[in-house]
Assembly symmetry: C2
Homo-oligomer: 293 residues x 2
């Protein structure tokens, strides 16, 4: 396997890497099982090596990384074209790689930051420079991105995925939402409830437990209600982004399906794309800029 360069998406939860050929063909891919959220900056290189070592050789391999890496090399403020950001050379101890890190994107007011999602956005523009509209990038931290004229105009973040993970694994709700099944009708109802009455959210969450205790509400309904209430709250906050727009949704497949279902219930037409493919397209663009520079 002749690895020309390595693309890395250093997400909060599951860092991913691609071994790339000289014509940007994917030779191999790996996902880390490590918990990178609690990494200290000085631990980043070891964790990165753990992910990409099988692809390193005696020659220096260029590695281009986006996301919440240990030492963030700063932010580019909006409005900005995410396809013009130059990867920044970053010091490493291991002589087998040359590490480049992409800067994140910041917004002064309302204050917001992204690391990694700007590369997905770049990927959308790589594929369609005419794209004018809104991206919904659901995940641990869901991003809503307004794109126009090849620029990120504005964006906002909701902690929807992280709230769902904390509440479903560690709160008093954990027993009643345990499992994988999701009742679609219950999800739809819960989304509509929070969108129409967002002020009720604080009480609706505990109500999930009470319905299970008193009325035998099953886990598939309880889990769907928790998901629907939180995605409904996310959509309520993001209404200025999606109202009257076409939205491109790109996240993990199951999560994208839930967001696009919730949006389509509001009459919003959605396109669903694979987030990984967009990230890779964005990283390939960054690789081209580096080669041309």
């Amino acid at each position: 396997m002749d690895v020309d360069w390595i693309a890395v998406d250093w997400g909060t939860t599951h860092p991913r890497a691609w071994a790339m050929g000289p014509n940007n063909e994917v030779l191999d891919r790996r996902t880390s099982g490590a918990d990178t959220e609690n990494l200290r900056p000085e631990e980043f290189e070891t964790a990165l090596l753990h992910l990409i070592t099988p692809w390193l050789s005696s020659e220096k391999t260029p590695v281009i990384a986006c996301g919440a890496v240990g030492a963030t090399p700063g932010w580019t403020a909006v409005p900005c074209n995410p396809r013009t950001a130059m990867p920044i050379l970053s010091a490493t101890k291991d002589p087998r790689l040359t590490l480049y890190i992409l800067p994140g994107v910041s917004q002064a007011s309302p204050a917001d930051v992204m690391w990694g999602e700007e590369i997905q956005t770049a990927g959308v523009i790589e594929e369609n420079p005419q794209f004018d509209g809104v991206l919904c990038l659901p995940g641990t931290h869901t991003k809503w991105v307004h794109v126009s004229a090849e620029e990120i105009v504005s964006f906002r973040t909701a902690m929807t995925g992280e709230l769902f993970a904390l509440l479903s694994a560690q709160s008093v709700l954990r027993q009643v939402v345990d499992g994988e099944d999701l009742d679609q009708n219950a999800f739809d109802t819960a989304v509509t409830e929070t969108l129409s009455r967002p002020e009720r959210l604080a009480q609706s969450l505990f109500n999930i437990r009470a319905e299970a205790l008193l009325h035998g509400q099953g886990n598939a309904v309880s889990r769907a209600r928790l998901s629907g209430l939180l995605i409904g709250a996310d959509l309520a906050a993001a209404r200025p982004y999606w109202l009257g727009q076409q939205v491109l949704v790109a996240g993990a497949p199951q999560l994208s399906a839930l967001y696009s279902r919730a949006l389509e219930m509001q009459g919003v037409p959605c396109l669903v794309r694979d987030a990984g493919a967009l990230t890779l397209a964005g990283l390939c663009g960054a690789r081209a800029r580096l080669t041309e520079a």
Copy 2:
């Protein structure tokens, strides 16, 4: 020390017990450091004994407990007078105690449950049978209780304390809200924000992190904003309870101060009472019913 009976408040986080004399004088008090939230029902007796063993003797001591004990002996549905609930004899292995557990209170629609707060409510009515109004009992799960004619008419629960604990200790916000200081102005602003625009909550939470990263927002402000956003969401949901009412707030002193401050900003007059004293008054009432029965 001649312990006549033992009062137990088995809260989700910090179980408390009082050693009581024959005239309901408090001889001693203890708080458990154990994590009771994850107790299995069969582990309850051991945990209880760990808390009260110093007070047990060769004679059987009556123990009256309220709260989320291992085996809940059912619920009384609203409307109900919490001063009439009879403690229910519960089996124990240890011969040194006779354990009585108070039933919780349930509400069919909107589905809700309480274990323990009905005894605080009973304590309010013990002290003032004429009480007609609203109790706000902040804690892990904040309860809003409408009391009239010595009855609990209706109530609702918000997971405010649990959300604050999860987000401040385990989420991406944990580093920026670390500490004890709370900026009062930032708290006030955040409460007002969620009360006037509850639909923005989902994005306001992540904004705390971004303000810290981009604009150097200090931890005392960040922590106050997290607290204020969540208490604001709680108040937004509970508006039908407090609007145009006098509210009696009873929780831990710091938390009661925050809730009464937030309510008074909305023009709601508040009385603040010590939650422990109310619980004890309620348990003394239950002891009297048991003796008279």
